[in-house]
Amino acid sequence: MTTVEAPRATERRQPVKPKPMQEYIEVFGNLPDEKQGRHFRYCPGCGLGIAQSAIVRAWDRIGLDPEKVVTVGGSGCYAVMGSYLTASQAHMGHGRACAMATAIKMSDPELTVITLQGDGDGMAIGAQHFVHAARRNIDITVVIFNNFVYGETGGQHGPTTPRTTMTQTSPYGMVENEFDIVNMALGAGAGYAARTTVFHAQHMVRAIEGAIRHKGFSVVEILQNCHELWGKRNGMPKATDMLAWYRDNSVTSAQAAKLEPEDVLGKFVIGTWTAPDRPEMSEEWQKLVARVQAGEVEPSKGASSKPPALQ
C-alpha cells in the first residue's frame, strides 16, 4: 500500500518563492494586550516557528485564499499558531479538532480545513476523532506537531514519547510504546500521510502542500523540537542540538527501503505515503442529498429481501 517518494535533488535545490507571504500572517496574533500578547508565544528556537513558516509557504504555493481557509486547534504550545495566521480559526477544546473539522467540511465543502494539533492533542485525547476522520476520508488536512511531550503543561510524556526517554512524568525513562502516526493514519483509511522534521524545511513545505492538495483525509506529522522540555532532559538543551539530531537521525523512505530493518530502527523515516483513493465523505454526502432530493431513493423501511452488494 505504500509508495515511496523521496525529495528529489533538483527540487531540493529550488529556492522557495521569495514573495513575502503577508496575506497569511497576522503579525501580532489576535492577542489584545500590549504587555501580555504582542510577542511570539513560542520559546526562542522552538520548532513551531519553523513549522508555521512551512505552513504559510505551502499555502502560498497553492495560492489559497485566506478567507476560505479555516484552521482548527485545541490546547498546547502550538495552539496559538492559528492566531498568527489570517485564516479563520476554530480554537476549541483539547483534542476535538478532527471532530470539528469534519463538521466544518461537511457544512461548507468549499472551505480548506486544516487542523493544527499537538501529539497529545491529536494522538491521545483526540485519537478517536483522528481515526474516525481518517476512516470517513473527509477532505481535511491534519498537521501534528510532534514534540514527544505535552509541552504546554510542562513536558509530561505522551503517546509519541520515544521509549526509555526522560520526561517530567517518565523520570526513570518512558516505559510505554509509542504510536506510529503515519501507519495509524494509513491503517485507519487515510489516503495521504507524510512524516517530516523541522530540519527538513523544504520537505516539510512540500509535504504540507501535498497534503492540502490531496482530496481526502491527509496527515502531516512534523517532528518538532521542544528543546526546552524534552531536549533538556535528553541531552539536547539547545534548539540547534535537536535540529542536528533530526538531521543525523532521519532517513528518507527511499533510503529506508534499501536498509536492513535493524538499521532503520531508531531512525526517523521521512517521506510521503499514499493509499488508493476511497470515497470522500463530504462529496458522497452531497451526492446522497442530490439523489434524495430528486426522489431517486427512499429511506429503508426496516425490512428488505435483497442481500447487499458490498462495495
Binding site: E26, F28, N30, L31, P32, D33, E34, K35, Q36, G37, P66, E67, K68, V70, V72, G82, S83, T86, A87, S88, Q89, A90, H91, M92, G93, R96, A99, M100, A101, T102, A103, I104, M106, S107, D108, E110, L111, Q128, H129, H132, W285, L288, V289, V292, Q293, P299
Partner: protein, 408 residues
C-alpha cells in the same frame, strides 16, 4: 393548534398555516420542530431513549439538504455541532444519560464561546448507565451547572408532544438570538409518547437568525456594555472569524473591544457580560403556565410530564374545596424565581412533585427563602410516575379526608 401554547412561548400565531394533523411521537416532534426552525445539521451518537431522533434526522436531513453525521461519541457530537454552527448552519444534537454527561465540556463551550446550538437531553432514569428504557427527571441541576466555570444556562422543558414541537423551534430561535447553546430537557416518557398535533406549514412559522456583521448596523463596533449580543461571523463569509468573533480590517483585537480592558479585568468583564447577556433578557426566555394560582393556599410547582399529573391533583383538590393552584415551569433556568414568588404569595404549602430527589424543590426553596410556606416534595426515582393521590395526600386536610374515606 393550541394558540395559548404559542403565546406562552412568545411565538406569534399570526400567519401560521396548518399543514396537517398527525399522530406523532415526542421525539419525532422534536425533529420536525428543529427542521421547521431551520436546523440543517444534526450530529449524535445513539442512546436510548433518543434514538428515534437520530433515526428520523437521518431520514429528514438529506431531504432538506442538511447533514446527518453520526459521530464516534458524544464528545465528538457536541464538537461537530459547534463546528457546523461556526459555518453558519443551525445545528443540534440529542442524547441522554451518560451521553449528556460526556457532552458537558462542549455545552460549556457553546455557552462561553457563544456558539448557537441546540442540545436535547431526553432524560432517562438514574445516575451512571441508569435504566435506559425508563424515564426520569434527574438531570435538572446538571443542565444548569454541568460544565465548569460560572456561566448562565438556558434550560427549557416541554410537557406535551405539541409543546415539544414548538419549544424545539423556540429553543433554536433563542439560541440564535442569544448566541449560545440552549438546552431542552425532555424525558423518555415524552419522547416515546404519541399525541395528535397540528403540524404547521414550515414556511409560515416565525424563525430567527443570529445577527451577522452584515445584519448588525454597527458591525464590529461593540458597545462594550455587559448586555450586548455580538454579531457572529461565519467561516468563509469574508471575515477572519475566530470562533464566530471577528475583527474589522485594521483592528488588532476584538475580544474585549469596547471594554478597553485587558488581562484579569477582561476576564472579569467577559464572565459578567455572558451572565448579564442572559439575565437581562429574562422576559424573553421565561415561560410558565399558571392555573388558579391567584388565591392558591396550596401551590403545586411542577415541570415536564409530572406537571400533567400535578394538574389532576390540583383539580381534585379544588373539587374538595382546597384552594390549590399549579405553576408549571417550561423555563427551568434561569430559574423563574419572581414568578414562583408571585404564585406563592398566598401559599401556606408548596408541593413540588418531580422524578428525582428534589432538584427543583431546592430551587423553589431558594426562591422562597423569605417566605414561611411549608415546602415539600413528592419524589420518585423508581421511574414510576407520580400518582395524583400521592400529591393530594401531602395536603393535611385532603389527607385526613383520604384516611376517613378509607375507614368508611
Amino acid at each position: 393548534m393550541d394558540h395559548s401554547l404559542l403565546e406562552r412561548l412568545q411565538l406569534s400565531p399570526d400567519g401560521i398555516q396548518i399543514a396537517n394533523r398527525r399522530l406523532i411521537q415526542g421525539n419525532e416532534a422534536i425533529c420536525e420542530g428543529a427542521i421547521a426552525a431551520g436546523v440543517h445539521f444534526y450530529a449524535g451518537y445513539p442512546i436510548t431513549p433518543c434514538t428515534e431522533i437520530a433515526e428520523q434526522m437521518s431520514i429528514r436531513q438529506p431531504q432538506v439538504g442538511g447533514v446527518y453525521l453520526q459521530m464516534e461519541d458524544e464528545v465528538g457530537s457536541i464538537n461537530a455541532v459547534m463546528g457546523a454552527s461556526l459555518t453558519g448552519k443551525k445545528a443540534m444534537t440529542a442524547t441522554a444519560g451518560p451521553g449528556i454527561s460526556l457532552m458537558q465540556d462542549g455545552i460549556g463551550w457553546t455557552q462561553t464561546d457563544e456558539i448557537p446550538s441546540l442540545i436535547v437531553n431526553v432524560q432517562r432514569a438514574g445516575p451512571g448507565l441508569g435504566n435506559a428504557t425508563r424515564s426520569g427527571q434527574m438531570d435538572v441541576m446538571q443542565a444548569r451547572w454541568g460544565p465548569n466555570g460560572d456561566r448562565e444556562a438556558v434550560v427549557l422543558a416541554p410537557s406535551s408532544v405539541e409543546e415539544a414541537f414548538w419549544l424545539t423551534l423556540k429553543s433554536v430561535n433563542l439560541s440564535e438570538r442569544l448566541r449560545m447553546g440552549v438546552i431542552m430537557l425532555t424525558e423518555g416518557l415524552l419522547g416515546l409518547m404519541r399525541e395528535v398535533i397540528d403540524l404547521p406549514d414550515f414556511s409560515t412559522v416565525p424563525i430567527e437568525d443570529r445577527i451577522t456583521p452584515e445584519s448588525h448596523p454597527d458591525a464590529g463596533q461593540y458597545d462594550g456594555s455587559r448586555t450586548e449580543i455580538r454579531p457572529f461571523a461565519s467561516f468563509g463569509t469574508g471575515y477572519r472569524s475566530i470562533n464566530g468573533a471577528w475583527q474589522p480590517p485594521g483592528q488588532v483585537s476584538n475580544y474585549y473591544a469596547g471594554s478597553g480592558l485587558s488581562g484579569l479585568d477582561a476576564q472579569d468583564y467577559n464572565i459578567r457580560r455572558l451572565h448579564d447577556k442572559v439575565l437581562s433578557r429574562r422576559d424573553e426566555l421565561t415561560f410558565t403556565e399558571s392555573s388558579e394560582t391567584e388565591d392558591a393556599e396550596v401551590l403545586l410547582i411542577a415541570f415536564g410530564t409530572q406537571a400533567r399529573v400535578a394538574r389532576f391533583a390540583k383539580d381534585e383538590l379544588r373539587r374538595q374545596g382546597v384552594k390549590a393552584g399549579l405553576l408549571r415551569l417550561v423555563t427551568l433556568f434561569p430559574f423563574p424565581e419572581e414568578i414562583v414568588r408571585a404564585a406563592a404569595a398566598n401559599a401556606k404549602q408548596v408541593i413540588v412533585p418531580e422524578m428525582n430527589l428534589g432538584q427543583i424543590r431546592g430551587e423553589v426553596s431558594r426562591a422562597l427563602r423569605m417566605h414561611d410556606a411549608e415546602i415539600v416534595g413528592v419524589n420518585h426515582v423508581d421511574s414510576t410516575y407520580i400518582e395524583p393521590d400521592e400529591i393530594i395526600s401531602m395536603v393535611p386536610a385532603a389527607a385526613r379526608r383520604q384516611r376517613e374515606g378509607a375507614a368508611v
